[in-house]
């Protein structure tokens, strides 16, 4: 059961990712990314991370991607133009990526003590998460809340009308 589910949803991930690359309209890419994220949420469930699965759907797919879609629609971004702006990206970047993938893949394949995941096993309860979060990782937790505050302020300041508008169109 686990295996089938894994294959299906891993397939969705990959399909979504590849579709993201192939589409020329950003809104299509955004929707593909939402597919990837929800598939990943299911994979988290399969691995026993219930809370994370929920958070993934709520935060990532539900908030971040919505924001992205909003911006796409706000800016009325159209299809991409095919420009040949960078040869380096193709000539240099692709081999690099291939190398990265090859190295990581080789390492993964040589890992010797990786176990297996069983469906229904090793489910992490939210209480467990919460305990560690609010005791040992309390400081990072508080710091991230400050971080979010700063991000809000920054976003508001940047996106305000009157910020960098004078040079548009010149």
């Amino acid at each position: 059961m686990h295996l089938i589910l894994f294959f299906i949803f891993a397939g969705f991930c990959l399909a979504g990712a590849i579709n993201l690359l192939l589409q020329s309209h950003p809104i299509a890419s955004a929707l593909s990314l939402i597919v990837v994220m929800t598939s990943l949420a299911v994979l988290y469930l399969l691995l026993g991370a219930e809370f994370l699965a929920a958070a993934q759907v709520i935060v990532y797919a539900g908030a971040i991607m919505v924001l992205v879609t909003l911006v796409v629609m706000l800016l009325n971004a159209g299809r991409e133009e095919r420009t040949h702006g960078s040869h380096a990206a193709w000539l240099v970047g692709f081999p690099a990526v291939a190398t990265i993938l090859a190295v990581i893949a080789t390492v993964i394949l040589h890992l010797q003590r990786m176990g297996v995941a069983k469906l229904g096993d090793g489910i992490t309860s939210t209480a467990e998460l919460g305990t560690v979060l609010f005791t040992r990782l309390l400081l990072p937790f508080e710091v991230t809340s400050v971080l979010i505050l700063i991000a809000i302020l920054g976003a508001v300041a940047l996106a305000r009308r009157g910020n960098g508008e004078g040079t548009a169109g010149k």
Binding site: S86, A89, V92, G93, A96, V103, I104
Partner: protein, 655 residues
């Protein structure tokens, strides 16, 4: 008698005078500058005189003073600041400070009204400081300090009227030619350190004394190097060219530095190192040869000069040649004796010439002088004394010293007679041109313009009179009567503890008498010829010059030596500097290297500039490359991967 000497005062007092007048001179009133300038040499002379009185008779010479802090202490070489007073340096010191003081007094009158008055006296005091350091030095390095310092003072004083290009050039020439000689001195010091391990004169003499059979070899090389240095400083062939040009300086400077004291430093140095020279007969021969050749050479040039100071300059070179000749035949006391008497009469002659020039308002050409004996009687009288002294007439001072030199030369084996003959011919020539000067300047009809003439003030006449008295009687102090004839035994025995006594074979009073007679006869002959040429009729010299135009031109143009040097040495050097060093090295190599460095940085920068395209995607690509590189480096176990890869490739290619 055990007195306490403070030798260090002797250099120090003039140095203090130099500092005071040099730094504050322009703001001080003239009487103060004069007082400071005169007090220094007088005080130094006083100390030297005191030393002479209290020490010369006793056995406490040599007196050595060493400053309490060491100078060089490297491995086995120890050099200190040491001052040594012995009979030799005492004689030199008295000459330097005594004649120096007289010339200072003379300068007060001569330089009166000159705007560089304080500067002049500060330089003069500086000279005295360095000269006394040179004379009192106990080791070669100290002497070198004085050596270089007097060269510096000479440069400053020759170029005193620095706004005149010829004066500035003359100063440069003097310094540069001196420096060429100094290379010899330096080399000699290097060799001394390498072979003797010490630069102190007494230690060198002791080491040489231990190996008495050691002649030639390194000692000859050292001696020849020292000769080069002495030739530069004392204006011998081939480095004499700076001395005639040095007449651009004020006349008292010519008197002090280029007649009485600085140019004698070379002779002094040779006498100081006489132990070294004694161990190298070859070097001594070279010294004698150089001296004799210079004496004759300079005398011939002096025949045709028309500038009064140039005549005296060439006569100085010639007389220095005599001193070198004396050193070359190992008659060191004779050389020093001649140094002493020469200081007197040459300073006198220069100062008298200065008076003439001063009175005529700057005229230096003999052809435009004449008939001055009426208007400048005192100057005429003292000049007569000086001329008689330099020509070598008894009982004036020059007679005894020149005689002693010729006598020692005659007795020298194996070629002494040739040297003697050269000396006699030179004496003839000397007498001729000095009397020529005397006739042209003072006697005959006045040829100068009718400007009002006046005798100089007593500050100028006083030293002249004193020097004249010394020129007359200065020789008597060194002589005594032995074997029925007067010779310089007293002087020789005075200096004997330092320079040793030379035993001459085949001498004798009768030979000495004969030789003296010949020398005096030569001098008389010269006077006669000069009388015929310049007193009786004044067309003979012109006709002679017309009859031998090339000969006359050669002499009048100083054998074109300066031009030869200019073409063979100076011009190639300048060309080398300008073209090879200036263009090839400076522009090509150095400029090229700098250009290359900067250019390559620019070049690399220009290439790298294309990398910074502003394009986000190419930046991202390079980021990915970097990440891949880091991953590769970290995750691949290179120690085992490389052989494994090689194995893989080996097998994959079908082996």
């Amino acid at each position: 008698m055990n007195g306490i000497l403070h030798l260090w005062l002797i250099p120090l007092l003039p140095f203090a005078g130099f500092l005071l007048n040099g730094i504050l001179g322009r703001k001080l009133p003239k009487w103060l500058v004069t007082t400071v300038a005169l007090a220094a040499p007088l005080a130094a002379f006083g100390v030297a005189l005191g030393a002479a009185v209290s020490f010369s008779a006793s056995n406490s010479l040599p007196w050595v003073e060493t400053l309490p802090f060491a100078w060089i202490n490297i491995a086995a070489l120890h050099v200190n600041f040491s001052f040594v007073l012995d009979q030799l340096s005492l004689v030199m010191l008295l000459v330097v400070t005594g004649v120096g003081f007289l010339i200072h007094v003379y300068s007060v009158g001569y330089m009166d009204g000159d705007e560089g008055y304080a500067r002049y006296f500060s330089y003069l005091n500086l000279f005295l400081f360095f000269m006394s350091v040179l004379v009192l030095a106990g080791n070669a390095l100290m002497m070198f300090i004085g050596w270089e310092g007097v060269g510096l003072a000479s440069y400053l004083l020759i170029g005193f009227y620095f706004q005149k290009k010829s004066a500035a050039d003359a100063g440069k020439k003097a310094f540069i030619v001196n420096r060429i000689g100094d290379v010899g001195f330096l080399f000699a010091m290097f060799l001394l350190v390498a072979n003797f391990g010490t630069l102190t004169f007494t230690e060198i003499a002791a080491k040489l004394g231990q190996c008495s059979g050691w002649t030639g070899g390194v000692v000859t090389v050292i001696a020849l190097c020292l000769l080069l240095g002495a030739a530069g400083k004392s204006a011998q062939l081939p480095l004499y060219i700076w001395l005639p040009d040095a007449m651009e300086g004020p006349t008292p400077v010519s008197a002090l530095i280029h007649a009485a004291t600085m140019v004698t430093a070379g002779v002094y140095m040779i006498v100081r190192m006489h132990v070294l020279f004694n161990h190298s007969p070859f070097a001594l021969g070279v010294v004698a040869l150089v001296g004799a050749a210079t004496a004759l050479f300079a005398a011939t040039i002096g025949l045709a000069q028309n500038d009064i100071k140039r005549v005296l300059a060439y006569s100085t070179i010639s007389q220095l040649g005599y001193m070198f000749l004396a050193c070359g035949v190992a008659a060191y006391s004779a050389a020093i004796f001649h140094l002493l008497t020469h200081a007197f009469f040459k300073a006198l002659l220069f100062l008298a010439a200065g008076t003439v020039i001063h009175s005529l308002g700057g005229e230096q050409d003999l052809r435009r002088m004449g008939g001055l004996w009426k208007k400048l009687p005192v100057t005429f009288a003292v000049t007569t004394v000086g001329v008689l002294a330099i020509a070598g007439f008894p009982p004036f001072a020059g007679f005894f010293s020149k005689d002693a030199i010729l006598y020692a030369a005659f007795l020298q084996q194996p070629h002494g007679r040739v040297l003697w003959a050269v000396g006699v011919v030179t004496a003839l020539l000397t007498s001729f041109y000095m009397f020529r000067l005397w006739y042209m300047a003072f006697l005959g009809k006045p040829r100068s313009s009718d400007a009002p003439l006046h005798e100089s003030p007593w500050s100028m006449r006083g030293p002249l009179v004193i020097l004249a008295a010394l020129s007359l009687g200065g020789g008597w102090i060194g002589i005594e009567r032995t074997d029925g004839w007067l010779n310089m035994e007293r002087f020789t025995s005075f200096l004997a503890p330092v320079v040793g006594a030379k035993s001459v074979a085949g001498g004798g009073a009768r030979l000495e008498l004969e030789l003296s007679a010949i020398a005096v006869g030569a001098a008389l002959l010269g006077w006669l010829v000069a009388y015929l040429f310049y007193r009786q009729s004044s067309t003979v010299p012109a006709r002679l010059a017309a009859a031998l135009p090339h000969g006359y031109k050669l002499l009048a143009n100083k054998y074109y030596v300066d031009e030869i040097y200019g073409a063979t040495v100076v011009k190639p050097l300048l060309g080398f500097s300008k073209y090879i060093l200036g263009w090839v090295v400076e522009v090509g190599v150095l400029g090229g290297a700098a250009w290359l460095l900067a250019g390559s940085a620019k070049f690399v920068g220009a290439i790298l500039q294309y990398w910074q395209s502003g394009n986000l995607r190419s930046y991202a690509a390079w980021l990915a490359v970097g990440a891949a590189a880091v991953l590769l480096f970290l995750l691949v176990p290179w120690a085992t991967a490389w052989p494994a890869t090689l194995d893989f490739v080996w097998k994959a290619t079908g082996h």
